[in-house]
């Protein structure tokens, strides 16, 4: 079939079962948008800023498990994607991004809206390329979707010069991918699996440390079976939350910097640490020498480069978490671990998460009420900061892919656009709640328009403390309370602002407001915006001070 490269690209997207693309048009992508004009199967979501587009595609991918797609024009369109691409790269989210480029003959001449976006995104993409040969379009797109979604997922960018997009080619979509330099390992080495089964049999105090890889490989069910089979408690990394039921007796909550004290103590006491799809991030490990000091370390991950990168591993195993757990399960011998489980129980009883309800509307209370109202049956999207950690601590995620948040990059402004993508991917009837902060939401607040244009019913819960709370907290502990540039001297009236976008808006100031108002807000059809006035001095606790081991936490006073 003969067609233009732009038309072929749309054809490729349809063959990859892409239903939604997020984007922002411009001169260099005119041919692409002209081709999209004729597509009946692809819904184009016009965002208000390219960063919003890539975050929305990211939120869409995290909830749906599919590849998120985003289009931007050359130059500023492309550079506006950078933060969002870095975010997806850090959290291993499958995205395919298309950028327009100036015509081939102008490349390298500092042409209008020219930027070397493949050069710029080299360190933050799993792969990228500049399409020079029009006949390669189909192969390049096929490879991009394959690379983005397999192995350790990640973003792939394809830069298409305008003249290439207009070139005519004979289109044939390849049925197979042939990449000799890319062959992810899925099946775990049988000898290692046996070795791990034996170690588990001998362990007295095993613990499972599960990360985002469990969600990426859709292994939540296997993880639950595995944990129950070996009677081991499970702690999640931030990225791993929702990969294990939050109300399960074996669940320890999140570990690390703002993890539960009992998770951190259990890690410190364990004799076998089983890392599943986690990367021993610095916010988890804190001080390397005092992390799991008595443990034999088993590390299972699909990315070989993560194994041994941070801490020495006794048994490394490369492969897909789901497949490996499936093979490991029949080898497990039942061992009585009642002593260890008793110890876990007493740690939980001794060091529960707590906060003072002495004065004002406490953010932790709002999250608890959010949990009471939804019981985990909602997609929770967050921004970055204190509110994000309170969600991680006080909301009990029940089902996989119900938390959408920026983990590795810690990217403020992610929440609102991500909630747009999440709402488009969520099952009809599934509530989508954005918990955000007054700092974060103002970074990408323009996407309220996208949300309304698309008719999405996101419930926005704004934690408003007139401050950049997380940094203010850091200044309290590490700068002797010198709060520099962390208190907003001016705020818009968020209620009026939301109403300007046509969103019903409320302000909650007391616990009664929340108890009465939150269920109503969540049950109402359509979007809603709740401005919650919370005390600016509230801290995220527990907290491991810089340089300390994870067992040495600052607790709620």
């Amino acid at each position: 079939m003969e067609m233009t490269v732009a038309e072929a690209l749309v054809e490729c997207l349809e063959r990859e079962n892409v239903e939604v693309v997020f984007g922002y048009p411009g001169g260099a992508v005119l041919p692409l948008y002209d081709a999209l004009y004729h597509s009946t199967r692809i819904r184009h979501v016009l965002v208000r800023h390219e960063q919003g587009g890539v975050h929305a595609a990211d939120g869409y991918a995290r909830v749906s498990g599919k590849v998120g797609v985003c289009i931007a024009t050359s130059g500023p369109g492309a550079t506006n994607l950078v933060t969002g691409i870095a975010n997806a790269y850090m959290d291993s989210v499958p995205l395919v991004l298309f950028t327009g480029q100036v015509p081939t003959i102008q490349i390298g001449t500092d042409a209008f809206q020219e930027v070397d976006i493949t050069g710029i995104t080299l360190p933050i993409t799993k792969h990228n390329c500049l399409l020079k040969d029009p006949s390669k379009l189909a192969i390049v797109v096929k490879n991009a979707f394959h690379i983005a979604s397999t192995g350790r997922p990640g973003p792939v960018l394809i830069d298409i010069p305008k003249d290439v997009a207009q070139a005519r080619i004979s289109f044939k979509y390849p049925s197979t991918v042939r990449l000799r330099g890319y062959k992810p390992t899925y099946k775990g080495h049988p000898a290692k699996i046996n070795e791990i089964a034996k170690l588990i049999g001998k362990a007295k105090r095993p613990i499972i440390y599960a990360g985002g890889g469990v969600l990426a490989s859709n292994a939540s069910e296997e993880l639950l079976k595995f944990a129950e089979a070996i009677s081991a408690p499970v702690t999640n990394t931030f990225m791993g939350l929702a990969g294990f039921p939050g109300d399960h007796p074996l669940f320890l909550g999140m570990l690390g910097l703002h993890g539960t004290r009992y998770a951190n103590l259990a890690i410190t006491e364990c004799d076998l640490l089983i890392g599943l799809g986690a990367r021993f991030d610095d916010r988890v490990v804190m001080n390397i020498t005092s992390f799991a000091p008595h443990a034999t370390v088993v590390h299972i991950d699909i990315d070989p480069a993560e194994i041994g990168k941070v801490i020495a591993t006794n048994v490394p195993l490369v492969g897909d978490v789901k497949l490996i757990l499936k093979e490991l399960l029949p080898l497990i011998e039942k061992v009585d671990r009642s002593e260890w489980l008793e110890r876990i129980k007493s740690l939980k009883a001794q060091y529960p998460l707590s906060y003072n309800r002495d004065s004002g509307l406490k953010p932790q209370f709002i999250i608890e009420q959010l949990w009471n109202c939804t019981k985990g049956d909602a997609v929770i999207v967050t921004d970055v900061g204190q509110h994000q950690m309170w969600v991680a601590q006080y909301y009990h995620f029940k089902k996989p892919r119900t938390l959408v948040s920026s983990g590795g990059l810690g990217c403020m402004g992610f929440g609102l656009p991500a909630s747009v993508g999440a709402a488009l991917a969520a099952h009809p009837g599934c509530k989508v709640v954005l918990v955000t902060g007054d700092g974060s939401i103002q970074m990408t607040i323009q996407e309220l328009a996208t949300m309304m244009e698309q008719g999405l019913s996101v419930k926005i819960i704004l934690f408003n403390n007139s401050a950049l709370g997380m940094v203010r907290q850091l200044q309290q502990y590490y700068c002797q309370g010198r709060h520099m540039a962390t208190h907003f001297q001016f705020h818009p009236d968020f209620e009026i602002l939301a109403k300007a976008y046509g969103i019903p808006a409320y302000t909650f100031r007391t616990e009664e407001d929340v108890i009465k108002g939150l269920p109503e807000v969540l049950e109402s059809p359509g979007p809603a915006f709740v401005n919650c006035i919370i005390p600016p001095e509230e801290n995220v606790l527990p907290m491991v001070p810089i340089g300390k081991g994870i067992s040495e936490t600052i607790e709620c006073e």
Binding site: L122, A144, I147, R178, L179, R180, A305
Partner: protein
Amino acid sequence: MEKHTLSVLVENSPGVLTRVAGLFARRGFNIDSLAVGRTDRDDVSRMTIVVEGDKPLIEQVTKQLHKLIDVIKISNITEDEYVDRELVMIKVAAEPSQRVEIMHIAGIFRARVVDLGSKTMTFECTGNEGKINAFEESLRPYGIKELVRTGKIAMLRGSKFVALSLAQAREAESA
């Protein structure tokens, strides 16, 4: 710290050198030397990279390199018996009266004269790093005007080799 020589087969695609060099830079790995050239196949290039570091570092370098889609195969040939060569060109100050003496030194290193000026001589010399260093030091007293040195290239000894597997060779070029 030991030096490791990695023989890396990569797709002969635009930007592959930037990908590899960029990876080393941003992960804080030091490249001691780097030599790139086409192999017997048009679609495959070979990079010979010398990296300084302990075992865990070299392991991390190798694993990170493997993550690049354009990297097809990596061998740490330092783990085996191998031969390596560098090429140097040295322009040395040489008054006509000194020429014979300098030629004598060059003879010891089996270096060849490739150019002659009124007051300079230019030599080429190949060999391993030690030999090249020794040749350089021998000429230094006369005054080195210019020195150009390639990165190291290396190859396994005997019948072992670093090449594409049959399956890899059969697979069509990637994007």
